[in-house]
């Protein structure tokens, strides 16, 4: 098999990233509410097989870097009523992220 075993990480802690605004049918682990939003890489979690493919009993290889990305709540929800420092951290696979 000629595919790479693991894709290299493109981002590191502190990098600003934007979540792609896309809505593929099928199994997706990037929640709708976060698509299109900009956050900051909190950490690289490691490489994991792609769940979108695993969901169809395929290998999910090459493995994808998975990140925890931190978003400011006040930037996600127009009517957010909590503190301006409140955040939501979401695990997002690299192929959903672009540099911001």
């Amino acid at each position: 098999m000629s595919e790479a075993a693991a894709l290299p990480a493109l981002f590191k802690s502190g990098d600003p990233v934007k979540v792609r605004f896309a809505h593929p049918p099928g199994h997706v682990r990037t929640p709708y509410y976060i698509r299109g939003h900009t956050g900051v890489i909190e950490r690289l979690c490691g490489n994991y097989p792609n769940p979108e493919e695993l969901a169809y009993a395929r290998s999910g290889r090459p493995t994808q870097p998975l990140y925890r990305v931190r978003f400011l709540q006040r930037e996600i929800w127009p009517d957010y009523s909590g503190s301006h420092t409140d955040t939501v951290d979401v695990e997002i696979y690299q192929h959903w992220l672009q540099p911001a």
Binding site: P31, L66, T87, D89, I92
Partner: protein
């Protein structure tokens, strides 16, 4: 008594009622109960698993209670080096207190005077089961999953936890391969307690983040 209507989930309606154990009884099986028996028997016939495997796995899960997670928390409270290791890499640290490292990568998030953490899985019900046991119904409910990311402070207030604005609320949406445990703050006035006594103060809800441990 909750037997006049036949459902378990509370995703869509709003009248509270108690939910005691619902025993398997009287030979009247629902479609999915019959399917469970059928699939299990077929898998056993095919040698894919055994009746013993199923029995053992049910027992294993029954034995997993939040006391496991509490052990980890109590150790972190008394041992700052352990706490540092736990926050850096959850799985090997959990093994130090005699627990299995678990099938998923564990991220432990620490409550401080400035930050309160709370866990949700908006997409399904991801939960650190090997440390806390099976998740409660409310964790899997539509209300919790929809609203905790959007209005965490309001939901926390519904759980009786009112946080001032100078404490940042950090919600973790468990969307992929990580599993989360909240490391609550050690209550004041507990300096004299043993590690075992400290663990007894830590309930499941505090490790999910919808509560904080009380002093006693």
């Amino acid at each position: 008594m909750a037997t006049d209507h036949d459902h378990a989930d509370h995703d869509d309606h709003d009248h509270p009622h108690p939910h005691p154990t619902r025993p398997d009884d009287d030979g009247a099986l629902s479609y999915y109960q019959a399917m469970e028996v059928a699939v299990r028997e077929l898998l056993i016939d095919k040698g894919i698993l055994s009746a013993d495997d199923v029995r053992r796995q049910v027992e294993d899960m029954d034995n997993r209670t939040p006391a496991r997670g509490a052990k980890v928390v109590a150790r972190a409270w008394v041992d700052p080096q352990f706490k540092a290791r736990l926050l850096a890499e959850g799985n090997p640290a959990v093994e130090e207190v005699g627990l299995d490292r678990g099938p998923y990568k564990l991220v432990v998030v620490e409550n401080t005077p400035d930050v309160h953490n709370v866990i949700v899985c908006t997409l399904c019900s991801c939960y650190p089961r090997w440390l806390l046991g099976l998740p409660p119904d409310w964790y899997k409910s539509r209300s919790y999953r929809s609203r905790m990311v959007r209005e965490p402070r309001v939901v926390l207030r519904e759980f009786g936890l009112d946080l001032p604005d100078n404490v940042a609320v950090r919600v973790h949406d468990s969307t992929a391969d990580m599993r989360y445990l909240v490391l609550p703050m050690r209550p004041a006035g507990t300096e004299h307690l043993s590690e075992e006594q400290l663990a007894a103060l830590v309930g499941r809800d505090a490790m999910v983040g919808v509560a904080v441990p009380a002093k006693s």
